[in-house]
C-alpha cells in the first residue's frame, strides 16, 4: 500500500512542471525529440533537489502527504493533532537546538538526555519539596545545566578529549547525579515522611502555568518555549559573530585558529549552550510529567541527533542551520504522530522510524 503515494508523487511533479510551465521546460520536452527528452527532464527534476533547503523540506512534505492520505478518518486534519505533535516534539526539539550548535562545531553531545533528567529532578526537588519560588529555582537549574555542559566542553577544548568520549562520560555522570539527589525516587507531589507514610503536597503553580495551552487552547506553552529556543539559536548562528565562529571552527578548525578565532572558547560556548538548553528541556519535561523522574530523558540524545540529521545538518560540522533543525523536528514529530493516530504498534513504529531516517539522509546525499 505504501508504494502508492511514492509513485503518485514522482508521477505528479515532472508531469505538472511540463504541463503548467512549458516555457521553462523548453523544447527538450517536445514530442518526437525522444533521446534527449528524458535526460533533460530528469536533470532539471533532480536539480531542484540540489539546494539544501529543498532537500531538508522534501521529507517533511512527503511525511505530511502520507498524513493527508492516512488521515485516520480526518484526525490528521484537525488542529488539535498538530498542536499535540508540536507539544510532543518540543522537549527533544529543545535538545536538538543545542545539539545543532555542537554538531556545527564538528562535535557531538551525548549528555543532553542525562542532563535533562538531572535538571528535571533538581527543578522538582527545589520547587515541590523545598518550596523555592520559580524565580529562584529556574535560574539555578539553568545554571546547573550550563555548568555540566561547560564541564564537558572544557574537557574537549582544554584536554583535546574526543567529544564522543567526554560527553559519554558526562552522560553517565549526570544520570548518576540525578539518581543521587533524588535518592533514586521520582520527585513528585507525594513526599515520603520519615515514618514511611506519604504526605501529598500540592504542585506549585509554575507546573500548571508551563504545562498549559494558551491562545484559546491552541498552542502549548512548551511549544512556545521550543520556538523561543529555535529563535535564540537562530540569532546566534545567523546573526552573531560567535555564530560565524561556530561554523568556522567546525568547517576547518586549524584554519579558524590561525585566523585568530578562539576555537577553545567557541567549543565551550557550544557545549555550554547545549547544557543550558538541556536544562530548559528538563524543566519542560518535569512540568509535563508533573514530577522529576531520575530516569527522564534516557535515549533522548539519540532522538535529538536524529532530528538534527533529519534536517540535513552534516555530522562532519561546518554546515547546517537552526531552521533545518526546526524542519527536522517537525518531520520526526509528524512521522510519529501519523503512526500513532493510525494505531501502528510501537514495534513497527520504531522500525519504520529507523528506516525513514536512513531514507531521508540517503535522499539528502543524492547528487547528480
Amino acid at each position: 500500500m505504501s508504494e502508492t503515494p511514492i509513485s503518485q508523487q514522482e508521477g505528479l511533479l515532472p508531469g505538472s512542471a511540463g504541463a503548467r510551465d512549458p516555457a521553462s521546460a523548453a523544447p527538450a520536452l517536445e514530442h518526437g525529440d525522444l533521446s534527449p527528452a528524458p535526460t533533460r527532464a530528469r536533470s532539471s527534476f533532480w536539480s531542484i533537489f540540489q539546494t539544501p533547503w529543498v532537500r531538508a523540506i522534501a521529507p517533511l512534505v512527503f511525511v505530511v502527504i502520507i498524513g493527508l492520505i492516512f488521515s485516520a478518518s480526518g484526525t490528521f486534519l484537525r488542529w488539535g493533532t498538530h498542536r499535540d505533535m508540536l507539544r510532543q516534539v518540543s522537549v527533544t526539539g529543545i535538545l536538538a537546538c543545542g545539539m545543532t550548535l555542537v554538531i556545527i562545531t564538528g562535535g557531538i553531545d551525548l549528555a543532553v538526555g542525562s542532563v535533562l533528567g538531572f535538571c528535571a529532578v533538581l527543578f522538582s526537588l527545589l520547587s515541590i519539596h523545598r518550596d523555592w519560588s520559580p524565580w529562584g529555582a529556574i535560574p539555578l537549574v539553568l545554571l546547573a545545566g550550563s555548568a555540566l555542559g561547560l564541564l564537558a566542553g572544557g574537557l574537549i577544548a582544554r584536554f583535546k578529549m574526543q567529544a564522543f568520549i567526554a560527553t559519554l562520560a558526562m552522560m553517565v555522570f549526570a544520570r548518576g547525579l540525578a539518581k543521587s539527589i533524588s535518592g533514586g525516587q521520582k520527585v513528585s507531589g507525594a513526599v515520603l515522611n520519615p515514618d514511611g507514610s506519604y504526605k501529598y503536597v500540592e504542585l506549585p503553580r509554575i507546573f500548571g502555568t508551563l504545562d498549559h495551552k494558551i491562545l484559546g487552547e491552541n498552542v502549548a506553552v512548551v511549544t512556545i518555549i521550543f520556538l523561543a529556543c529555535v529563535a535564540l539559536c537562530w540569532v546566534l548562528l545567523a546573526r552573531l559573530r560567535w555564530g560565524r565562529y561556530l561554523y568556522a571552527t567546525g568547517g576547518n578548525e586549524e584554519a579558524a585558529r590561525l585566523s585568530g578565532i578562539p576555537t577553545n572558547r567557541v567549543k565551550l560556548l557550544a557545549y555550554g549552550m547545549s547544557g543550558l538548553l538541556s536544562a530548559v528541556a528538563g524543566i519542560c519535561q518535569a512540568v509535563q510529567e508533573q514530577q522529576g523522574d531520575p530516569e527522564a530523558g534516557s535515549t533522548y540524545e539519540l532522538s535529538a541527533i536524529a532530528i538534527v540529521v533529519m534536517g540535513g545538518t552534516n555530522l562532519n560540522g561546518g554546515r547546517g542551520g537552526m531552521l533545518f533543525t526546526l524542519v527536522g523536528a517537525m518531520t520526526i514529530g509528524y512521522l510519529e504522530k501519523i503512526l500513532s493516530i493510525n494505531a501502528v504498534s510501537e514495534a513497527s513504529r520504531l522500525m519504520l522510524t529507523g528506516g525513514i531516517i536512513v531514507a531521508a539522509v540517503l535522499f539528502q546525499k543524492v547528487r547528480k
Binding site: R241, A248, A255, A256, R257, L258
Partner: protein
C-alpha cells in the same frame, strides 16, 4: 647520455635491478615528469637529486607502485612490469623507507615487521598467524642489523633512529632488493647517520640497490655511487659521483630558465618593521623520546617596511616552521625574541598575533588556509570579524561591502560574494586567502608559498599585489621554492638549511648557484 660511461664502468656488477625508460606523468594536465629514464644496479647507492618540485617524489612513487598511471616502461629484474598497487611493488621486492615513518606506532615491532604479510603455520589455516615463527624471523633480521631491542614493545617506545632501522629490518623481512630512502637522515643526529651509512654499505654488499634522496651535498658525496639529476620533471643527466664535481652538480640542478617576467619593483625601504633574534623551535614530536631536536635553530633576521624578504630552503629546512613559530601557531615562544616596529611582540597564539598586526598565509590553503564550506565573503572577513560585527552583531551589508571591495581589488573571479570557496579555482582561492589577511591591515605579512598551485595569470596578479602592498608600507617575509620568484621578486634572500640560516644575499649578490649551494650545504652564515 651523460651517464653512458658511468654505466659502462659498473656493468660488471650485473644487469640493472630496475630500469625505467621514457617515463612521463601529468597531474590534471600539468606534466610533472617528461621522458625520464632511471636505472638502478645491484650493489649501488643511486642518489636522486633535484630542487623541490623537480619530480623526484613522483618518480619514486611510480617505482613504488603508488602511481599506476604513467607513460613509459618499467623493467624489474629484466622483466617489463607494471605495478598495480604499492602492495604489489612491495611483494616484488621494492621497499620505501619513508621520511614520515610508515610504522604503526601502537603495534609491536614484530607485528609491524610482518604487517600485511603475516607468517602462517600452514596454508589451510591462513587466518592464524604463526607468532613464534614471526618472532624468530624478526630476531634474525634485527641481529643482522645490530638492532638489539625488545621486539614485543610497541614501536612508539623507540627513538626515530631506532624506528628508522626497524623500517629497514622490515624491508629485509619483505625480501626487498630495492630500497628507496627519502631523506632518511633528516631526523638523525651525526652518530646515527654514520650507523645508517654503515648499514647501507652492508645492504650494498648483499646486492641490494638503494635509491637515495637527499638535500645535503655532503651526504650525496659520502653515499652516492651514481647521481641522477632531475629538473622541472626532466632528466638532466646521470653520472658516477666521482665524475661529477659539486659545481657541475649544482649547475645541473639549477639552470632553470628565468623566463618569467616580474613586474618592475621600485623599492623604497622604510624603517625596520620585523626583527627576529635567536629564534628556535623545538620539535614537539621528538620530545617524547627525550631528545631535543630543533626544527628551527637560532634564527635572526629582519624585514624593513616596504621590503620583500624571501626565505629559500629545500624540504626539511625548517622555513615553514620558522613562520609558524613567529606567528604563535606553536603557542608561546620559549626561545628567541620577536619585535615589530621596535616594540617587543608577544608570541603567544595566532589570535594575539593577528591583533598585533601579523598575518600568516599558510602553504596549504585547503587544509589550513580557508574554510571551504563558507562563502567568499565569510572567508574574507574571517580574521577581522570584529570590524563587521559591532557589539557582536554581524552586519551582512558591511561584510558584503568589505568582500566586494577585495573581490574588485584582487580581481577574484566568481559568481558573487556568496559563492562557496570550495568551488573556486586554485588561483581565486589563493586570492581569497590573501584578501582575508589584507583586511586585517597587518604590518607584516608572512607568506608561505603564496603562488603554489596557482596558474600563471593569477601568479602575476599576486606579484603585482605584493608590490602594491609593499608600496603601502607592509613588510613581507615569504617562503618560496621557486627560484625565479626569489631572484625576481625579493629584495633580500635568506637561505635556510636544517633549521638554521645558512646564508643571506642581497638581490644583487644572489645567483641560483649561490642559493642552491647554501640550501644544500652545512656552512656558516
Amino acid at each position: 647520455m651523460t651517464g653512458e660511461t658511468a654505466t659502462a664502468a659498473r656493468v660488471e656488477m650485473g644487469a640493472p635491478l630496475l630500469s625505467m625508460a621514457g617515463i612521463s606523468k601529468s597531474f590534471t594536465g600539468v606534466p610533472v615528469l617528461r621522458d625520464v629514464s632511471f636505472d638502478l644496479l645491484p650493489g649501488e647507492a643511486h642518489v636522486l637529486a633535484g630542487e623541490n618540485g623537480a619530480g623526484k617524489s613522483t618518480l619514486i612513487k611510480i617505482a613504488a607502485g603508488v602511481h599506476t598511471e604513467y607513460e613509459g616502461q618499467l623493467v624489474l629484474y629484466g622483466r617489463p612490469t607494471r605495478f598495480t598497487s604499492p602492495h604489489d611493488a612491495t611483494a616484488q621486492g621494492i621497499s620505501v623507507i619513508h621520511q614520515e615513518m610508515s610504522l604503526i606506532d601502537a603495534m609491536t615491532v614484530v607485528d609491524n615487521m610482518f604487517l600485511g604479510r603475516e607468517l602462517t603455520r600452514k596454508a589451510s589455516a591462513r587466518q592464524w598467524t604463526d607468532r613464534p615463527a614471526q618472532l624468530r624471523k624478526a630476531r634474525e633480521f634485527c641481529a643482522q642489523l645490530d638492532l638489539d631491542i625488545d621486539l614485543s614493545q610497541p614501536v612508539e617506545n623507540y627513538s626515530l633512529s631506532i624506528k628508522n632501522r626497524i623500517e629497514i629490518a622490515k624491508a629485509l623481512a619483505f625480501n626487498a632488493r630495492i630500497m628507496v630512502m627519502d631523506e632518511p637522515t633528516s631526523a638523525l643526529a651525526e652518530p646515527e647517520v654514520d650507523r645508517l651509512f654503515g648499514l647501507i654499505g652492508q645492504l650494498k654488499e648483499r646486492g641490494c640497490g638503494i635509491i637515495y634522496i637527499t638535500h645535503r651535498l655532503e651526504e650525496i658525496y659520502r653515499i652516492a655511487d651514481r647521481i641522477t639529476v632531475l629538473r622541472d620533471g626532466r632528466h638532466i643527466g646521470t653520472a658516477a659521483a666521482r665524475d661529477l664535481p659539486e659545481a657541475e652538480l649544482i649547475r645541473w640542478m639549477i639552470g632553470r630558465e628565468l623566463s618569467e617576467h616580474f613586474p618592475e619593483r621600485k623599492t623604497a625601504l622604510g624603517a625596520e618593521r620585523l626583527r627576529i633574534e635567536g629564534l628556535s623551535v623545538p620539535d614537539a614530536g621528538a620530545a617524547s623520546t627525550g631528545i631535543t631536536r630543533w626544527l628551527v635553530q637560532d634564527v635572526a633576521l629582519s624585514v624593513r617596511a616596504g621590503e620583500i624578504v624571501g626565505i629559500a630552503g629545500l624540504q626539511g629546512s625548517g622555513n615553514s616552521e620558522l613562520l609558524r613559530g613567529i606567528f604563535g601557531a606553536y603557542g608561546k615562544l620559549e626561545h628567541g625574541k620577536v619585535s615589530i616596529d621596535g616594540k617587543p611582540f608577544d608570541v603567544h597564539s595566532p589570535r594575539r598575533s593577528v591583533r598585533q598586526g601579523l598575518a600568516y598565509l599558510t602553504s596549504d590553503r585547503k587544509g589550513t588556509g580557508l574554510v571551504l564550506g563558507l562563502d567568499i565573503a565569510q572567508n574574507i572577513t574571517l580574521a577581522s570579524l570584529q570590524a563587521v560585527s559591532p557589539a557582536g552583531w554581524l552586519s551582512r551589508s558591511k561584510e558584503r561591502q568589505v568582500a566586494e571591495r577585495h573581490v574588485r581589488a584582487l580581481s577574484i573571479r566568481s559568481t558573487g560574494t556568496t559563492q562557496e570557496v570550495a568551488t573556486l579555482s586554485g588561483g581565486n582561492q589563493q586570492k581569497v586567502a590573501l584578501a582575508k589577511w589584507i583586511e586585517t591591515q597587518p604590518r607584516v605579512l608572512l607568506l608561505d608559498e603564496p603562488t603554489r598551485g596557482v596558474d600563471v595569470g593569477a601568479k602575476h596578479e599576486i606579484y603585482e599585489l605584493m608590490n602594491e602592498w609593499t608600496r603601502a608600507g607592509f613588510a613581507i617575509l615569504m617562503i618560496t621554492s621557486e627560484m625565479p620568484e626569489l631572484l625576481g621578486l625579493c629584495d633580500r634572500i635568506v637561505v635556510m638549511h636544517r633549521g638554521r640560516v645558512s646564508a643571506q644575499f642581497s638581490r644583487a649578490e644572489a645567483t641560483q648557484e649561490r642559493i642552491l649551494k647554501a640550501a644544500m650545504a652545512d656552512m656558516a652564515a
